[in-house]
């Protein structure tokens, strides 16, 4: 092998991964942590080398087990109007909703929906309305809204979704990062498509990553919580109009299909108008306006009983015309040398990127507050999950991946570039 091409050819051949590397990698995949395990750091670099090469199948969380082991669900006592009670420990944004949520529809003891006035909490709204106003039926699927809560940033709505032969028991369950009695919490998902808007405010958007997170009551009935994030802080009561155009879900026996869309999808039209009031008592927006030397930092923090939203300050990386031109000329020189056709100058820098940094949060007790998938470029959304938060310790690092995966407070303190302490009243 005396030529560069031979060298490259050699590189491209498959190589055998040493057994020890393979085993450690597989062991890691078999023992992926839940978020709570991550908090303890017990899965971090064990440094342990094992000699067994067997690769056991990873565990798929069974969806049906949840239903069979939940005596409340198995007994089929009235559910609608009390769905938060069934889901509030298991969903990603867990917490005690029962004293804060407004009941929209309540199922009486005989199991039939009626227009009786609701008999629950003091925040019940418009209890003279028929419960059926919060229900929509199409294509054999009925969505009945149960309770609603709004902290000003998000509307949390529970609903029962009913469909004969829905095969809901076969929906796979996913870990939701919490624990109850030492067991990792799980939930199943119904995916939705459509759009939403606010009746008075006019704001709205598409239903993209808004899913009903919950559990199957049986093959025909699903109890779910959908969270709609509002674009701006909502300060007045309003009506949430939800227009579902598709309901879909996976089948755990069909996880390896080449089709990227859900196993079952039902197109239709389900329109709900949900009045909600704003919880102004239990929420606060705290101005922070603190940055690191590079200008990255935290503008403000919003805290409600169920979520923490950290608003980020991310300066735009700006280049002078001279910088861009110099870099472009260097690039052209190199690409020409490599025999490639040059790209136009206007395509060279096609966007103004914002500076990235890493942020992670801990409570006053050193417990990590987990981030949620609904993060956007300018904010980080954290799930409270029942934690008592009187103070937030926010850690910032210039390296965008330096600390986010760490759960040990001391380790994070060592690696972070900046710390912000936010007192919560």
């Amino acid at each position: 092998m005396k030529k560069y091409e031979d060298f490259l050819e050699g590189l491209q051949k498959d190589m055998e991964i040493p057994q020890a590397v393979q085993v450690k990698f597989c062991e890691t995949l078999e023992n992926l942590p839940t978020s709570s395990e991550h908090n303890t750091g017990k899965h971090r670099r064990s440094g342990r080398w094992v000699s067994v090469a067997a690769i056991a199948a990873v565990v798929l969380v069974g969806g049906t087990g949840i239903c069979l082991t939940n005596p409340v669900l198995a007994a089929k006592i009235p559910i609608i109007g009390k769905i938060f009670e069934q889901l509030e420990n298991d969903v990603s944004f867990s917490g005690d909703f029962k004293d804060k949520a407004q009941v929209l529809t309540e199922e009486p003891e005989n199991g039939e929906l009626s227009d009786d006035k609701t008999a629950s909490g003091q925040q019940n709204i418009n209890s003279t309305q028929l419960s059926t106003e919060y229900s929509a039926e199409d294509q054999g699927i009925t969505i009945t809204a149960s309770e609603v809560y709004c902290d000003g940033q998000s509307v949390f709505l529970t609903a029962e979704i009913h469909m004969e032969n829905g095969k809901f028991n076969n929906i796979p369950a996913y870990y939701t990062s919490g624990t109850v009695d030492g067991e990792s919490t799980t939930a199943q998902w119904l995916y939705t498509r459509g759009d939403w808007n606010l009746g008075h405010n006019g704001a709205g958007g598409e239903l993209m990553n808004n899913n009903f997170e919950g559990k199957a009551l049986d093959d025909n009935t699903f109890l779910g919580l959908i969270k709609i994030d509002l674009d701006t802080l909502q300060e007045t009561d309003d009506v949430l109009n939800l227009n579902f155009s598709r309901i879909g879900y996976d089948d755990k026996d069909d996880l390896y299909s080449d089709d990227i869309i859900e196993t079952y999808k039902h197109e239709g039209s389900w329109n709900l108008s949900i009045p909600f009031s704003i919880d102004t008592q239990d929420v606060q927006m705290i101005e922070v306006s603190e940055t690191m030397e590079n200008g990255c930092g935290v503008e403000k923090v919003f805290i409600s009983p169920y979520q923490v939203i950290v608003y980020l300050i991310r300066p735009v990386i700006s280049y002078t015309e001279e910088d861009v031109r110099r870099d472009y000329e260097g690039f052209i020189e190199k690409t020409t040398e490599a025999g490639e056709s040059p790209i136009p100058f206007e395509d060279f820098y096609y966007e103004e990127p914002k500076m990235n940094f890493d942020l992670t949060a801990f409570t006053q007790d050193g417990i990590k507050v987990d981030s949620n998938n609904s993060n956007s470029d300018d904010k980080v959304v954290l799930a409270v999950q029942g934690k008592d938060i009187s103070q937030l310790q926010l850690f910032l690092a210039n390296d965008p991946l330096a600390i986010v995966s760490l759960s040990n407070l001391d380790e994070v303190k060592e690696l972070a570039d900046h710390e912000i302490v936010v007192d919560v009243k």
Binding site: D259, G330, A338
Partner: protein, 171 residues
């Protein structure tokens, strides 16, 4: 792979495990280009799997999964490399002696080791993993011109090395 990514983003452990296993070969090659011994490579792959698992939800475009994952891997490798450099005087004996992989004796790997790490990584990403220059720039967080420059320099260094080897053989 798209479905696996979708499911992994929903924290489906099985889908995630399959996804990562599919990329194990690529991960090993890239990590081996930066780190010398297999124990460090295994650590880097483990850390990468854990970080990807935790951060899957932040992956905005599924088609960039591999780019995103390799970038995390390289960051992990660099971190381990720096840690090793810092504690190089420590005489830590691993619990089990690691048998270096068979390919360690392969001539091409030996030749690759003549390159500095920054050149090795670019060569592996471009020629072995098939990433485009723009993707490599994103992975390494450098400009595209820097990637091109490194590739050119790597090629020249290799040519120089071959030439030297040829001259030595003639002596």
């Amino acid at each position: 792979m798209e479905l696996l990514i979708q499911k992994a983003k929903r924290h489906d452990k099985e889908a995630f495990a399959i996804l990562m296993t599919q990329h194990a070969q690529s991960m090993y090659k890239v990590a081996k280009a930066i780190l010398k011994n297999d124990e460090d490579v295994a650590d880097a792959m483990q850390e990468t799997a854990l970080t990807c698992w935790e951060k899957m939800g932040t992956l905005k475009k599924n088609e960039f999964f591999k780019t995103w994952m390799i970038r995390i891997l390289i960051n992990k490798c660099n971190y381990i490399y720096r840690q090793k450099a810092r504690f190089t005087s420590d005489s830590v004996v691993p619990e089990v002696m690691i048998e270096e992989s068979a390919f360690a004796n392969a001539e091409w790997m030996e030749l690759l080791e003549h390159l500095e790490e920054k050149y090795r990584t670019v060569i592996i990403l471009y020629y072995v993993e098939g990433f485009k220059v723009r993707e490599i720039a994103q992975i390494l967080d450098v400009s595209e011109s820097a990637v091109k420059g490194r590739m050119t320099a790597a090629r020249k260094k290799m040519e120089c090395f071959y030439q030297q080897e040829k001259e030595w053989e003639m002596v």
